[in-house]
């Protein structure tokens, strides 16, 4: 039998980017909050290293291997076989979660992202909507989320330059962004000669480049130092805590309240349901023992795959197909960001991008969202183009030879010796939409060590995204060539397999027939069960999801506090 614990007000499953934010407003309000996390604390001095093998080749920055034992299976469609399973999950387990080793790009979505369906119909007609898509407008607008973006930018700490403060545009920032109430709390990360070179080339082309926002301190902030640009940020932890993971920002802030407790190294296996069909708490395993943590409100904040999986695994009389799944929506409206799709460029001089961070960028948004006329292009949405720094030696030597040299031997060696510091890649993110045929469910065969099925991803690349990505790649090529690149080469574009940018499965909406949670992130069917994370997102935008995830998490938590009596009441 599971050991019954003392009831709490709110149980938060997962203390990563999302859960790690939500605990702060909950704890501050005086609620008894139990944070339950599979990983544990990481030690910046012992576990964060400037080492490509440790960070990037072997995925060493994680506190436990839970994620790696639950890697989802991936297949293209109902009839195709599952692909060979990877061995390293792109997400990690720890207090702070993947906010420890992510790139820390910290974007707001655009107003258009929240109203893509209606705006598309208005501008291009209903025929322009992607075929087979289950796209809807979000139940909230950019304006609804703006105050929470602002809170996160200041609580977590984001560096950037505003392009639109209350409608006043500033070309030093992103003039395509939605209106914001005030500037970022810190200026953007330092530019480099390379990023400024690309900035100048973009301006010459008539584009509107800017430095991208990042949750990395550009100067001292909240008692932690500014970035030192040492070049081991991606998949690495920050040795000076300049990267604003929740492990160094909102979680320690929440720990100042005694009513917030953390249970680490705890693997949550089920969401409990009481006789009235309300969430009763969660079952977890720690140190070989099974516990049940009763809670008045349960918030699920693991990653996208695991959130849907936990819902599907939590079957009961009231919910025979998984909790909150009586409308068959759990796992639906899943989408995997088209990100990466790089264009590589070779310059005839040393661009020296060894150091820095992937968030030390020049970005162009002119081909993203609905920032240009799509008439006749055959797609909606678009691609943001981000050029950053940070190159590691093995990665550099494993470079493409652009058809100018073989892959090994003396000619290869001469080529790499000359060009390892002269090439770079780009980071392209394309608006990605949900489709009827793409979804998450439980794998019928592959199980984790507990015997629970892992998540199965069924996901095909769709034509709208393919066209938008190709369009973005062509524009990136133009940009590189204008900046003096002598060779450019397109990498493969697509939604990838198991991804750091996985969305949906527990979509947000007003209609229980087409969504799982309401506009506050609470289940339509189980009113005291909430979801944090990109699981609830309706569209991706053409940019990294984390800031939106965090703004939504804060908003969900604040709503719980404001409506505590209604939400927590025993049914």
């Amino acid at each position: 039998m599971a050991i019954n614990l003392k009831p709490v007000d709110v149980a938060v499953v997962g203390l990563g980017a999302a859960g790690g934010v939500a605990v702060l407003p909950l704890a501050k309000a005086g609620l008894r909050v139990a944070g339950i996390e599979a990983g544990t604390w990481m030690d910046p001095h012992r576990q964060y290293h400037a080492d490509e093998i440790f960070n990037n080749v072997r995925g060493g920055v994680t506190s436990v291997q839970k994620a790696n034992r639950e890697i989802p299976t991936v297949r293209e469609n109902d009839k195709s076989p599952t692909r060979p399973r990877g061995t390293i999950h792109p997400m990690m387990n720890a207090i702070g979660g993947t906010s420890i080793h992510y790139w820390a790009s910290a974007w707001r979505l655009k107003p258009w992202d929240f109203r893509t369906k209606s705006e598309t119909i208005k501008r291009y007609g209903a025929g322009a909507l992607p075929k087979g898509s289950t796209l809807e407008d979000w139940p909230i607008s950019y304006d609804d989320l703006e105050p929470y973006y602002d809170i996160i930018e200041h609580e977590v700490g984001v560096s950037g330059k505003a392009g639109n403060i209350k409608g006043v545009l500033d070309p030093a920032g992103n003039v395509y962004e939605g209106p914001r109430q005030r500037d970022y709390p810190m200026p953007p990360l330092r530019g480099t000669e390379y990023t400024e070179h690309m900035m100048a080339a973009a301006k010459k082309m008539g584009l509107k480049p800017f430095h991208g926002p990042s949750a990395i301190n550009s100067q001292n902030y909240n008692g932690r130092p500014g970035c030192v640009y040492h070049g081991y940020c991606g998949r690495g932890g920050c040795h000076i805590s300049a990267k604003n993971s929740t492990a160094v920002s909102t979680i320690p802030a929440a720990q100042k309240f005694k009513n917030f407790t953390i249970t680490d190294l705890a693997h949550v296996t089920r969401i409990g349901v009481d006789a009235n069909g309300r969430a009763s708490g969660v079952t977890y395993i720690k140190d070989g023992k099974e516990y049940f943590q009763p809670a008045k409100v349960v918030l699920i904040a693991s990653y996208t795959y695991e959130n849907s999986r936990l819902f599907l695994l939590s079957k009961s009389k009231a919910f025979p197909n998984g909790i909150s799944n009586n409308h068959g929506q759990v796992g639906r409206h899943f989408f995997s960001h088209w990100q990466g799709s790089p264009v590589m460029a070779l310059f005839p001089f040393n661009i020296n991008v060894w150091y820095g961070t992937p968030a030390q960028t020049t970005v162009v948004d002119d081909f993203a969202d609905d920032n240009f006329d799509h008439t006749g292009l055959g797609f909606i949405g678009g691609t943001s183009i981000s050029l950053g720094t940070e190159m590691h030696p093995i990665e550099a030597a494993a470079m493409q030879t652009f058809g100018m040299a073989p892959q090994w031997g003396s000619k290869w060696k001469a080529f790499v010796k000359q060009n390892a510091a002269r090439w770079t890649s780009s980071y392209l993110q394309t608006s990605t939409f949900p489709y009827e045929q793409n979804y998450l469910d439980l794998d019928p065969e592959v199980k984790d060590p507990l015997g629970d099925p892992v998540c199965r991803v069924t996901n095909a690349a769709m034509p709208n995204e393919a066209r938008a990505a190709a369009f973005g790649q062509a524009k990136t090529e133009d940009w590189f060539r204008a900046a003096g690149a002598i060779e450019v080469l397109r990498g493969p574009a697509g939604p990838g397999g198991v991804s750091t940018h996985a969305y949906g499965g527990l979509r947000m909406g007003d209609n229980p027939e087409t969504s799982v949670v309401d506009k506050w992130g609470m289940s339509h069917e189980v009113p005291n069960l909430g979801v944090l994370g990109a699981s609830t997102m309706v569209t991706s935008g053409a940019r990294n999801p984390t800031l939106t995830v965090q703004a939504l998490a804060w908003r969900t938590a604040e709503n719980i506090v404001k409506n505590w009596k209604t939400i927590s009441v025993k049914g």
């Binding site: 093998i53 080749v57 480099t192 640009y229 040795h239 030696p393 093995i394 390892a420």
Partner: protein, 206 residues
């Protein structure tokens, strides 16, 4: 209470025990995975190691542009790591080596290490292009061998390769710094290289 059945039977309990989450730090004897532990028995026999050296030296040959892969420690890296972090792939890797030598014998009548560089290149080209017989998947083996050669040549020397930082010198990687200033991010600059392992113990060579 949760709806999940609480059977309380022994096998369920055993499963829970076996699936306990253990912190990574607790299962790592050293601070890093795949540390250069010279006390550990090497993964490869002397003949296999010689074959790896010869193979790697055709991928990155010693020439006017600097030392070859084995002089850079790539073969040592592969040997050490196959005994440690990469132990799960040791058997398939050794199968690939065996097939490489068998193919050399079959196509040129001699062990791979005794062939001329030109003949070795012919053998490797056949493995790379998938035309060599006797492999489970010769292209996959070649790709993996090449990848491990790059890792051994260009990684932090802590793992047994990049001897005397020769790999980093070859491509002009200025080395790990704990902090980087604006001047060190300029284009077309020659930055004074930092030649150290971030794991300590190795500085300016072994």
């Amino acid at each position: 209470m949760p709806e999940e059945k609480e059977t309380g039977n022994v096998s369920r309990r055993a499963v829970i025990m076996s699936a306990a989450i253990v912190p990574v730090a607790a299962i790592r004897s050293a601070a890093a995975p795949g540390a250069t532990d010279n006390a550990k028995a090497p993964a490869l026999t002397p003949d296999q190691l010689k074959l790896v050296e010869a193979f790697a030296d055709r991928l990155i040959p010693k020439d006017e542009n600097g030392p070859g892969a084995s002089e850079c420690g790539a073969a040592n890296y592969i040997d050490r790591q196959l005994a440690d972090y990469l132990a799960p792939e040791r058997a398939s890797f050794v199968d690939g080596l065996t097939a490489t030598n068998a193919y050399a014998m079959k196509s040129h009548g001699r062990n791979f290490v005794d062939l001329t560089p030109e003949m070795q290149d012919m053998v490797l080209t056949a493995i790379d292009s998938g035309t060599a017989e006797g492999f489970a998947n010769s292209r996959a083996f070649f790709t993996r061998f090449r990848r491990l050669t790059l890792e051994g040549t260009f990684s932090d020397p802590y793992y047994g390769g990049n001897k005397n930082f020769a790999g980093w010198d070859m491509i002009g990687y200025p080395g790990p710094r704990l902090a980087v200033g604006p001047d060190e991010q300029k284009m077309n600059v020659t930055i004074k290289p930092v030649r150290m392992s971030v794991w300590g113990g190795v500085k300016d060579g072994h």
